[in-house]
Amino acid sequence: MRLVIEGLTKNFDKKEVLRGINFSFEEGKIYGLLGRNGAGKTTFFNCVNKDMPVTGGTISFEENGKKKELEPDDIGYVLSVPTVPEFLTGREFLKFFLEINKERIENPKTIDEYFDSVSILEEDRDKLMKDYSHGMKNKLQMLVNIIANPKLLLLDEPLTTLDVVVAEEMKQILRDIKQDRITIFSTHLMDLAVDLCDVIVLLNHGELEVVDKANLDDKGFKERIIAALKEEQDA
């Protein structure tokens, strides 16, 4: 399975943010989408998630040579600021989520097993989510996206504001679930992208460009990315 982007453009008035992107993302890999602040990473995600109409181009899945349009169930979208309904407890939210999506969840586990999988403590499971920490909300948001088992997982700078321990836990979760899906992880933190991702993609001048990791030590690789990003600034 591949996510195929063809001629994707997005303009805000006369400003071209995405300029005819042609790219394909492959299953089983974590893609690190790198770009400076304001480069258009969130716009790209919003276009893929259909939260924003595109100016031109198509986005589709390709499986066994056949193209298929993206359905809402195919996409999981984790935002940098976790958003969970604060009037519910963690357990109530999961119960509701599992009931609504019961037809598409294969081999469902118990609610407590799901909590265990992201290390949410027993004492926190029946608290209202308005009293959850940022990290706990983030884990829960990630958890429901994992349970839904989407073919495409979009992560918009999800680890930027987490503490070291939670960030490491989340990274491990992402590595564990990367098979059978395409994961695109946007960040402006280069070290994080290098550490976690299989492929680094730069959003440069409104276009996507792969940075080849092969035959480069860490230092050389980072310098190459910085050079590319600087070029973006100078342009």
Binding site: D51, L79, T83, F87, T89, F96, D126
Partner: protein, 521 residues
Amino acid sequence: MLKTLKNMFGLRKAYKSNSILYVLRQLPLIKKILPPALSVSKPLNIIVTTLYVIGEILNLFMWKALYYFGVFGYLRSMSDTLPSDVLFCQTLLICTIIGLLMNVDFLSYKKDKFYAINIFKLNAKQYTLIDLMFSLSKIIVGSLPIVIYLGLSWGIPLWFCIAIPFCVAFGKFIYAAYVLVTYDKTGVVNYAGKSLISWLVALLLGLAGFVMPLLEKGLPKEPCMAGVLLLLPVGLVCAIKVFTYKNYLKINKSMLSQVDLAMKEAKKRGNKTIEASIDDASVTSSKSGFEYFNELFMKRHKKILWKPALNMTIVIAAFAVIVNVGILFVPDGRQLIAKIFDGMIPYFSFIAYTISRGEPFTKALFMNCDDSMLTFSFYKKRNNVLKLFCIRLREIVKVNIVPGLALGIALGSFVFIPGDMESVKKGLLIILTMTAESILFSVHFLMLYYLLQPYNVNTEVKGVYYTIIKLGTYILIYLLMFQRIPIATFGVACLVFCVVYSAIACLLVAMLAPRTFKLKN
């Protein structure tokens, strides 16, 4: 002085023009033909300036016309025997005093004033005085033709008609001088409409102005005219204080920071109230799916959804009891009260609109629920959007119907005359009408929320269409207040409208909401 005048108009024009441009940028068809750099486009600037001037001219005459023709015309229809000139002078005096207490454009909060004094450091005294003179000139120019037309047709001499706008304008100096004197003594800016006493006096005067024509009672014409004319010399004396006052910078800064802080606090408090309204994790639900989700939401938001509706119901019930008991002590009280309320049902549509919990309901829905849930793709699926809409419609109707029904029963009891079958029919129709209106306003707000989703992440209303429709609805219902329509006609028309409107609204939601109900970027 001339420089300040130029700067004031420049700033005001820039502020209002930018607001017009912002609105134009939100309209889909017009947005497409507008250039991206709006402010540098010369033809567009001409259009915006023209719109601004048209807006100012409309503003100058429209509100005055609405006020004079609306209030005076309404009161005329309340009385059968009171001579027009007596009614005119009495109403004029009462309304002028209310205006002096509540509506003086002096040291009132305006955004452009905030920028001018706090940021651009314009001369505060000159700015305030020019601003005051400008608003007084608008009163004179805007009122004069309307008062002359209305006054002459109601038998008022021309010289008095001409004097009225000047008396009203000069009267504003009295309150302005009072504000300055009290500020020097207390350090608090009592801008118009701020104090509770002003509100109480205005309310009592308003009540008197409304009840007297109903009882066919009028104040003697000449003393009323003298009272209005007296404002001219007293206003002139007070104007001396206003023009010689020195502490305008200090008083403006006090007022601006006072109001700015109050506005920020109110906004913060409003959001906090909604956030803090979630309580009681021990509340449970035995339902499943969206019914489970909804039941928990409703149970954990009782404080902001059910409590105000129940409080309002208690107030209405108490009012109904007081009136019904009170009329027992007035000879022919029941007949009198039935006559008063017979044509007033449109007025209570406005009350039904203001007590509707539609907007707080949608705000709580967005802030504590949809703001987060709309980021999940399953939540945005067509079936789920519509399923939840139906559940929410049922819930909001349940909340609104309680005070709506109470209002209907209260009004129904007022028109009831023992032994008169016609009055029973009227009473029942009123109950039905008020109940239908509470449903209508529930549907209206929820439909607007689903079709226009006006909130951004800070729960600020950002949708221009939402604002326009809300304002339009408000104006329509406000204008309805001044109509005297028989209960039977109004009730039947209202019921038909409620059914048709609700059906169309639900159809629109079914067709469009899956596309329109989303987060605003």
